[in-house]
């Protein structure tokens, strides 16, 4: 057995946990090797140094009584639900309910808005275009979202505009123009043709 292997086993040798054959081999090596005997003395000096510490005196008041009081308190809190855990659960439930209501409100508003968005484009029967003058027609017509190109489809649509035209019939202070557009082909391709006069 060489010194490196013996010195690695000195800890186990000291604790008496080597197997019998290994213990005998280490014994034999130590009898003939001064370096390894010195290493063993070092090991033992570390142990003696560490064992200098005395046993700690037990505390004046044992933790037992303090601990049992704490446990009784915890038992009481669990039974009456006044502990931090039950308060946390109650707050969490309230927050969850509020969040669900808010989410429902947002969804309802969004649904309503989406339905209104379709009105200017394909409204129900009788919609008419409301604008400042005839010259505005082409531009405004092109700017409407989803509207087809000129001459293809006909819709009557009504969009309120701020500036009134004294010569035109008024509806709630707004100018109303009526446009009729013609649909080519199958009415299924676009909205149906409506009356010229709109309300």
């Amino acid at each position: 057995m060489d010194c490196r292997i013996v010195q690695k086993r000195l800890g186990d040798y000291r604790m008496g946990i080597l197997s019998e054959p290994e213990h005998a081999l280490v014994d034999q090596h130590l009898a003939n090797c001064a370096d390894c005997r010195a290493a063993l003395r070092d090991e033992e000096s570390v142990s003696s140094f560490l064992r200098q510490t005395e046993d700690l005196a037990p505390p004046e008041t044992s933790v037992a009584s303090e601990l049992m009081q704490k446990l009784k308190q915890k038992d009481r809190e669990t039974r009456h639900g006044t502990g931090r855990d039950s308060l946390f659960i109650r707050v969490a439930v309230i927050v969850l309910v509020v969040v669900l209501f808010a989410l429902a409100g947002v969804l309802i508003m969004r649904y309503s808005r989406d339905n209104k968005a379709y009105y200017p484009t394909y409204g129900p029967v009788g919609f008419t275009w409301v604008g400042d003058s005839d010259e505005d027609e082409g531009e405004l017509w092109k700017s409407l979202p989803g509207m087809p190109s000129e001459g293809r489809s006909v819709h009557n649509i009504q969009i309120p505009v701020k500036q009134p035209d004294p010569d035109a019939p008024e509806s709630n202070g707004r100018v109303i123009h009526t446009f009729e557009l013609e649909t080519d082909g199958d009415p299924a391709d676009g909205p149906p043709v409506r009356d010229k006069e709109g309300k």
Partner: protein
Amino acid sequence: MNTSRELLRDYSDEALMLLVRDGDHKAFEELLRRYEKQLLSFFYRLTSDYDGAKDLVMDVFLKLYQAAARYEPRAKFSTYIYQIARNLSINEFNKRQFRKTSSLDEMDEEDGIEIAGNEPNAMEIMERQEKQQMVQMALNSLNEEQRTILILTEYQGLPIDRVAQIMGCSVGTIKSRMFRARQRIKEWMVEHGL
């Protein structure tokens, strides 16, 4: 149901813990009585803080009590309770750095804890307290793992395979860390002329 105190002295730790699981408070007090001092010693050597060590002992038993309903005697009870202690010591170590005093002057009077025994001579008391502090400083020079392993083997007297279970690693790893810990203590002793 609470079994009488005298009877409980004959019960094994595992049997007591099963009684605690069934709601026996006297069994819990008996376990407390058996492990309080050694856990206090373990935590004090780890933290160098006597009051902190007392709090940690209480935390161990609180955790034990809370976990009682789930207890199954899969390993020795001492392994189980030291695993709880070890986990708490890691949390504590992460929360606040364990004091690493580098000289005797930095350790104040509060660190001179009471030593068991009858000491008529004040000089002898001081000498013993100084030795205590030296050993504590040497332990503080180790990292948390090395310190824990050395304390469990040298002071708590636990066998290597039990220490390996508590630390959650192999016997070979424990032996190698213990070897490095002892080398470090030896170096510290040489640095301080011991």
